[in-house]
């Protein structure tokens, strides 16, 4: 009898967790659908959009640039060391370039932006909720979804591909620096190898991924902020939720997008 009780309790616990998970997913989907519908309807806030583009895009450049620069360099070293096992050192430029634009550029930029921007959005909106600023917006005839969520979603979706494009160039340059200064590649040959083996699809697929990751970062930031608990602890938890959930969704959607874009 006691054993049965334990089994029922375990099943009930699993049931509760499953229901809570579905409820959370449902709330997120409704939130995203509402935000998307508000994107299409006036009023629009172009000033807010411009401010967010600056905040999300321009101010993330240093962190994304440094991340891709060092990753490009490390990638060149790794591919050189791996390639040397079967006399294929010459593939370094092309593999660095393809690896950066298809995979590492968008994923690393996405994760860095999730940490920098996702956290900031969740903390800002969470604090606004806790201090009744979101309620104040409503009483001032301003829809918080339109004023707070839509500009951030649009800005992140637009800024991320631009960030990744610049990050890709910096990352490839990092590989070039290591290749020419440390691994004795000829500079002209390195550049030729980089350009010759890269296709337009490599770049566009990375930019599509970047746009999706940007949307995810802003969505999880705004959603977590809007559903923040009370007080400093609630805002802190919302910030953590935003970064963790955005990071996991970026990695999961990266796999799905790779399947979609590259499976023959």
């Amino acid at each position: 009898m006691l054993a049965l009780n334990y089994i029922f309790e375990a099943l009930a616990s699993i049931g509760r967790s499953t229901l809570a998970l579905f409820a959370s997913v449902g709330r997120l989907v409704i939130f995203a659908a509402s935000a998307l519908s508000h994107m299409l309807r006036a009023p629009f806030y172009p000033r807010e959009l411009a401010a967010q583009l600056l905040k999300i895009g321009y101010f993330s450049l240093p962190v994304v640039g440094l991340t891709t620069l060092f990753t490009g360099g490390a990638l060149a070293l790794q591919i050189y060391a791996g390639g040397a096992r079967f006399n294929a050192e010459s593939v370094v430029p092309s593999i660095v370039a393809i690896g950066m634009v298809r995979e590492l550029g968008p994923v690393l930029a996405g994760l860095m932006v999730a940490g920098r921007v996702g956290a900031s959005i969740a903390a800002e909106i969470g604090t606004m909720k806790v201090t009744e600023q979101i309620d104040a917006l409503t009483t001032l005839s301003t829809n918080p979804m339109k004023y707070l969520v839509v500009p951030r979603l649009l800005a992140a979706t637009i800024a991320m591909p631009l960030l990744v494009l610049i990050g890709n160039i910096i990352g490839i340059f990092g590989g070039f620096l290591v290749g020419t200064l440390r691994l004795d590649f000829n500079a002209a040959a390195y550049i030729n190898n980089t350009v010759d083996f890269m296709e337009a699809g490599d770049v566009t697929s990375g930019l599509i991924k970047a746009a999706v990751f940007g949307f995810i970062v802003a969505l999880m930031g705004t959603y977590s902020g809007f559903h923040s608990g009370r007080g400093a602890q609630g805002v802190g938890q919302a910030t953590t939720n935003a970064v963790v959930s955005a990071s996991i969704l970026i990695l999961a959607s990266n796999y799905l997008l790779t399947e979609l874009l590259f499976s023959a």
Binding site: E132, Q133, D135, A136
Partner: protein, 251 residues
């Protein structure tokens, strides 16, 4: 036939999970009248305001504005102002933009220069100097933030104003100044006002009528002049701030 109340609540109920906050609130405020809602912490005063605003949806009951159900909330909000307990000023905007925020929205929005001029005029109305307009909320004291919140609430000359704990956290002198400003503004604008507070000096300074909320219902409702002779033990305990009485105090 007398005119319908500006705001009327009939049997409004609201629960959060198992916590029944409002258990059938019946309340009305006449046009141009100032109602103060009193009651202990956690009795649902703020929830009551949020139900009227539509920020919280009641589980049951009806809320009537000018005798009719509220079908167009945007229209109602366009003639509405609210002073929040903590000010709820937008940190990222300078004071003038906070004050003129509503007037910078929509098709007929004010230009920057006009909005600044209007904001400075409203700030003067609440006793703040023009230079405050160009500061950010974080640079102001609590009392100044309350005044800026008040200036924002009256910027569009609303016909309905809510004040949520207008004097909480202020020293007695500043509380007195805010109370006087609220009374002046309500009288000058001829607005219908609902204020929620624990502060009995605010009640006496602001109210035409007082309603006491207890256990999710209106315990007593009457003219402010009658509050000391209400004959209700709950009201008596509350207004005299006594620990002993029918209202349980958790120690």
């Amino acid at each position: 036939m007398s005119a319908p109340a500006k705001i009327a609540l009939n049997g409004v109920m609201k629960a959060f999970d198992r916590n029944e906050v409002l258990r059938g609130v019946d309340l009305s405020v006449d046009k141009g009248s100032s109602l103060v809602v009193i009651g202990g912490s956690g009795t649902g005063k703020s929830v009551l305001l949020k139900c009227i605003l539509g920020i919280v949806t009641p589980d049951a009951g009806e809320i009537l504005i000018d005798g009719a159900a509220l079908n167009n909330r945007e229209d109602f909000l366009s003639h509405f102002g609210m002073l929040f307990q903590g000010g709820a000023l937008f940190d990222s905007l300078p004071v003038w933009h906070n004050v003129a925020f509503r007037l910078r929205q929509g098709k007929a929005k004010l230009g920057k220069a006009d909005a600044q001029e209007l904001a400075i005029e409203k700030l003067r109305r609440v006793g703040l100097k023009p230079e405050v307009a160009f500061q950010f909320p974080a640079e102001l004291s609590g009392g100044m933030q309350k005044r800026v919140g008040l200036a924002r609430a009256i910027a569009s000359e609303p016909s309905v104003i809510f004040f949520d704990e207008p004097t909480t956290g202020l020293d007695p002198i500043m509380a007195g100044v805010i109370n006087e400003l609220i009374r002046e503004i309500v009288v000058d604008l001829g607005a219908t006002a609902i204020t929620i507070t624990h502060d009995m000096s605010s009640v006496r300074a602001i109210a035409d009528h007082v309603a006491m909320l207890h256990a999710g219902k209106v315990r007593w409702h009457g003219p402010v002049a009658d509050i000391d002779t209400s004959g209700d033990a709950y009201v008596d305990q509350f207004i005299n701030g006594r620990a002993d009485g029918p209202i349980e105090s958790v120690r």
